[in-house]
Symmetry: C2
Subunit: 762 residues, 2 copies
């Protein structure tokens, strides 16, 4: 029987043999048997050979030739150009348009009235070394999208990054921002957090500036001598309250189609509560220099040649911003290549095409790499190859103001996507350096395997090993040990900041975010200097890393599209979530220790006694005790998940050991279970107070914005000291994990039944 079983299941033979193997080579790929792996690798080699750096260069030159923000004429032309190319390459391509709220400035005024008169320039001048920098007529001025209109005057207070803990520091110094205008430096959070927290504390206006410590000469020579932000460079960007929901502020949950029911602008919850304006460090310097009040703590100090003070005052500023609150069209380019065998399984790959200004790096560097993938795949198709599953390439519009194009498309096609989407693979800016991998941990083994087959253009080791080297060198202790010894490099969890958010966190579609960087330092981000000229000097002059991205992204798409069984795997996921569970338990313990320590310090008066009596120091209030939270339900659910993951592995291993192949029908059924598995990690009700975010493992933090909060419902309840909610959410999340384990068990049963059926036949 054993031999017979083996004989029948041949094609599934070595499908999972690479599990846990650190080295690539000719070992079978996940989801493929040995023969099919050879075939797949042959296709990939051909795909690699088709990729041409000159394509990337010429497309970047074209797409970044003029400003192309959402709603702009050149943005539309770009969408049409991309679509025409996709069509040329044999993809069934359409442009889907949405109609999104996109405010642009009518008035921008920032002046210091006291102690001296100064009017901020709010201008990035064109420079001869940058040929597109003088396109003033088409450039969006520097501003923050989704700031409300406002005209405010008040004393200025410096609030560091403007995140909640900065306000604790202000409080300790007896400084209240109520009725004041705050000035925050960029960094430390998603920029939309800064006005949100300022408003929560009574601030009436918010200025955000790029400090040269974080984004300027402290980091490196400034443009045009070097790559870094100069004194005029200004970071545009959205300040919507994205942790509530991404996409058009007027159409949460639904697609912003022409006739969609829209919220009145006044009721849109993600607009800021106070007016906001971004400025350069050149404009910030006089304001900060004139500030009085106590000197700020060490880690609040930037790199301007001044002593940084809190204020408030004597600096008084007048901030006035007014916007045209227009509904503009957003053009998503959607290119489909229908799968031959399983057309209702969609492998989706996307990168946005809109920019704040010319956007050579953000997003064109990623966009042109993705276009080259499409061209490469088109060439394969022309030579007779066809994918088993459907491939969908998307060039998103309106990412910059708030993931508009992707979110509205996802909301519009939510039902279809929930049924058919297998994976969403995102990229964005790309440059010279190291591969970064983030996403669903059910795909961790898969992406490690793919990355092992791509060579780093500079060092000629594979891009996974180069990323591993960097992780080893830049970590310590247990993290270093893991980076060195774990066969797979652990991938990061996704917060927000690019177009994967609606897929992963709204719908629960397994997602990945990929790209190269780390050696493309610079400060052109969201400025007019993010140009072709800047890119080819400082980012990826040879476009080798554009090709590496196309190889990585294309390889993932090809493997996912062609595999006999989808290459999902659950032990990495269960191990990683186990880590998160330990983290939240430790968070509660640490908070308990900190609360007790604070109590001691208040009782013994050490905080007061160690402060300078000549300066204002307000002791923090005693915090409520941290109860012991019952984490047992979570831990039990993880024990179940671990067993389920192990059983699935074992079932697959049995198949493999028997050199068996699952019948096509079983493969298809298994696919359906695997591709929808991530959906079990969501809850219809979403997270507490933010129902749009349904994923229970990954979410952008409510007070971080970009930064991920894993097990967000539990973690944020703890952080907000809402013990009751934390305990409730432990139970809720535990049930979610149990359901997810149940879905895995179903897949395991399917494999085992198929196996028995085959065995029975023999």
């Amino acid at each position: 029987m054993k031999t017979g079983f083996a004989a029948v299941l041949t094609s599934f033979f070595l499908t999972f043999l690479t599990l846990g193997q650190p080295q690539a080579g000719d070992r079978p790929l996940m989801g493929f048997d040995k023969l099919r792996s050879v075939e797949e690798r042959t296709i990939e080699a051909r795909f690699d050979s088709l990729l041409r750096r000159d394509d990337l260069r010429s497309w970047m030159k074209r797409l970044a030739a003029r400003p192309h923000n959402v709603g702009s004429p050149y943005g539309k032309q770009n969408a049409e150009f991309i679509a025409s190319q996709f069509r040329l390459w044999g993809f069934d391509t359409k442009i889907e348009d949405f109609h999104v709220l996109f405010p642009t400035p009518k008035t921008r005024l920032l002046e210091m009235t006291v102690p001296e008169k100064f009017t901020a320039k709010l201008q990035e001048p064109g420079i001869p070394e940058d040929s597109t920098s003088n396109q003033q007529n088409e450039q969006l001025p520097s501003y923050n999208a989704y700031s409300i209109d406002g005209d405010v005057t008040g004393e200025l207070v410096y609030v560091n990054y403007g995140v909640p803990k900065d306000y604790e520091e202000l409080e300790a110094h007896g400084i209240d921002v109520k009725g004041k205008i705050v000035i925050a430096r960029y960094g430390g959070s998603w920029r939309g957090i800064k006005p949100k927290v300022a408003a929560e504390h009574g601030g009436i206006g918010c200025i955000i500036y790029s400090d040269p410590r974080d984004d300027g000469y402290f980091e490196g020579d400034v443009y045009p001598k070097g790559a870094y932000r100069n004194e005029n460079g200004t970071q545009r960007g959205s300040v919507a309250d994205m942790p509530q929901y991404s996409g058009d502020p007027l159409t949460p949950f639904i697609g912003a189609t022409k006739d969609a029911k829209r919220l009145p602008i006044k009721e849109a919850p993600t607009l800021t509560k106070i007016p906001v304006l971004p400025i350069s460090y050149g404009d910030a310097l006089p304001l900060l220099k004139a500030l009085g009040g106590p000197v700020v703590p060490d880690d609040w100090r930037g790199a301007l040649p001044i002593t940084y003070h809190f204020g408030p005052g004597p600096t008084q500023v007048h901030l006035k911003v007014e916007f045209s609150w227009d509904i503009v069209p957003a053009y998503d380019v959607i290119a489909t290549l229908k799968g031959s065998d399983r057309p209702d399984e969609w492998i989706i790959r996307g990168n946005h095409h809109d920019a704040w200004v010319n956007g050579a790096s953000d997003p064109i560097s990623g966009q042109v790499a993705m276009m080259e993938e499409v061209r490469g795949i088109g060439e394969l198709v022309k030579s007779g190859w066809n994918p088993k599953r459907t491939i969908v390439y998307c060039a998103w519009d309106g990412e910059e103001p708030g993931l508009l194009g992707s979110t509205e498309w996802v909301e519009t096609h939510a039902d279809a996507l929930k049924q058919k989407a297998v994976v969403y693979i995102n990229s964005d800016s790309n440059g010279r350096g190291f591969l970064f991998l983030g996403g669903s941990h059910t795909l961790e083994k898969f992406v490690n395997e793919a990355a092992r087959d791509v060579l780093d253009p500079q060092t000629k080791v594979n891009v996974l090993e180069r990323a591993r080297a960097s992780r080893i060198v830049n970590s310590q202790g247990d993290d270093r040990k893991e980076a060195r010894d774990r066969s797979d490099l652990r991938i990061g969890a996704l917060g927000s900041g690019s177009d994967y958010t609606p897929f992963l966190q709204h719908l629960g579609i397994s997602s990945l975010n990929i790209g190269f960087g780390g050696e493309n330092g610079g400060g052109s981000y969201h400025s007019i200097y993010d140009s072709y000229d800047h890119y080819i000097r400082f980012d990826d002059p040879t476009f080798e890393y554009g090709i590496a991205l196309a190889q990585t992204g294309g390889r993932m798409v090809l493997r996912l599209a062609n595999a006999d069984v989808l290459p999902f795997e659950f032990t990495s996921f269960s191990e990683t979530v186990g880590k998160y569970a330990k983290e939240v338990a430790k968070l509660a313990d640490d908070m308990r220790d900190q609360t007790e320590e604070l109590g001691k310090e208040l009782r013994e008066k050490s905080l007061k006694l160690s402060s300078d009596p000549k300066e204002t120091y307000i002791e923090p209030k005693q915090k409520d005790q941290v109860p012991y939270i019952n984490f047992a339900p979570l831990q039990n659910s993880l024990a179940i998940l671990q067993q389920s993951a192990k059983n699935f592995d074992q079932a697959m291993k049995d198949v493999r050991d028997e050199s068996a192949t699952l019948p096509a029908s079983a493969q298809k059924s298994l696919d359906e279970m695997l591709m929808t598995s991530e959906r079990f990690l969501t809850r219809e009700e979403g997270l507490p107070r933010r129902p749009w975010f349904t994923h229970q493992i990954y979410a952008p933090g409510y007070y971080t914005g970009y930064g991920v909060k894993t097990l967000p419902a539990i973690r944020e309840a703890l952080e907000q000291r809402n013990w009751k909610e934390a305990e409730e959410q432990v139970e809720i999340v535990a049930k979610v994990i149990e359901k997810f384990a149940g879905a895995i068990d179903k897949a395991t049963r399917l494999v085992n039944e198929a196996k028995e059926k085959i065995a029975g036949k023999n």
Copy 2:
């Protein structure tokens, strides 16, 4: 018998009852019985009541009225004034003069020749807000004493703090300073280390500047608006190789008396090997701004508004310095009050009087507090009180160039001091803030007890508790736990930087260094702006902390002078040295781990792979393996020491429990043993390669200068990877500790024998 024993030993009754007690009050003092404690506290209360802030103010005004460096006319006048006061207050006072090498500049030239012409101003201008800042005729220009003459031209290289690990970073970037001029920022080490290490690496000149990150506007508003160093402020200071020996470079080991045999200047080993000049950040800015080469690492970057580069070049500089190599007189003021009972036991207290310029803070703030102690004690004497032991107050000259006055006096009187010195108590600059305590751990309990009896002027808790509060708040983990729970606040070990060095580290006299500070922030150090005007605005405007210093220092002097038995104790010392032993063992383990880690990184190529191929990166060489060092002799000696300390405690406790008093002769014999105990911690041969430093527990680091290296012979052998020497030194230090334990045992036997004798009589 028990009762009889108790009856006889009454006066010794409660002598040691306060051991381990955290709270002051009316508990008996160490070294005193209950009745004598009450008496002592009465004297101290009277002493406190005599102290007058106005004295400090008027003396500071007088002593800082004109520049008074060693060899200056006003310096001599100050010495004579101080001596006249000491005499007035009833002390037998003399001025002892020494004749010391003190170079002053004839030529100072620093110019940039490439890429543009710039000549450094090298001037601190007078300012109207500072009434003594315009005394140009008497001010020493900004320079570094004991730089050799030199005239060098070369490319500039920025070397961060210029300590050994900075040169490892330079090497990693392929940058060699051979034939170059280095520019280092102040900080990170004693300034004399910078030219020493530069010369070791082939540098031909050394510029030292004050970066505003460490000493300027980054820290706070600059003078005269605030207390911090402005763009012209320049830090003078010695650059002698003090870790070889302190004092006159021409007379190591011997007093620089008129006829002393002197080394030829050319052979003086502590002079620099290359010319050195300190500059302001105003002068440094153009040089650093013009530097090219790679951008330096984050932690090398200062607060100038530039991108910091390594060089070398294109900046080329021409540095020329020439000095008058004069022998000048140094005037030590020595004031003695003979002990009534044990005149050959000397309690020595000192603070220097010379400054770089006007020196209101450094050293006059400490000097005037000490003078007030002398006046207070003089008043006590006038009212009929007399100390049991001899009190010696010293106002040192020539501290600034290299602890000249104190070192030469100590070397001159070495034999007498070895026999008679009980303790040396040092102070120097003083200001508002927290008490700091450093010194011999055999005095840890004693100084804790004294500090508990002095009130902090601002918070009205005792100065020990305020220092403890600061330590609790500013430490973490085990250190915080210790700061909170240990009954005594652990005192710091002494490195170098003030006049305790010749006493403690050359002769092995138990020493202390005391002062207040931490709320007297500012950057007047060693500049013309260290003035009365600066001091009364920013340092200790009310002179309350000057009084607190007088109370602390005076209290220690009075208690040491009056105690029945000297308040030495050995369990704190043995515990602390046990900590040091653990540290050196851990150092070896850490070095072994680091060496292994480096080997891994070299084998796996992670360092190379994680570096940017577009930038030069030279992998470090594999280091030799770290063998397992035999620390057993050290550990065994510490076990012996621990037992000896315990036995001494027990003997003292028995006396106390029996309410006994040792007879006067036994007290005196015990005193003699206790006061010479520290001498057992020295070795005639000194430390390897620096025989002048004889103390085996505490020494300034060979590559840190100020920073202490505890168990220096072992620790530095390890740091230099000299495993053989480390193992040898473990044995040597172990023997030293055993001898020290033997000395304690002798004291214990003496106590026990005295006890038995008394018991026998009953």
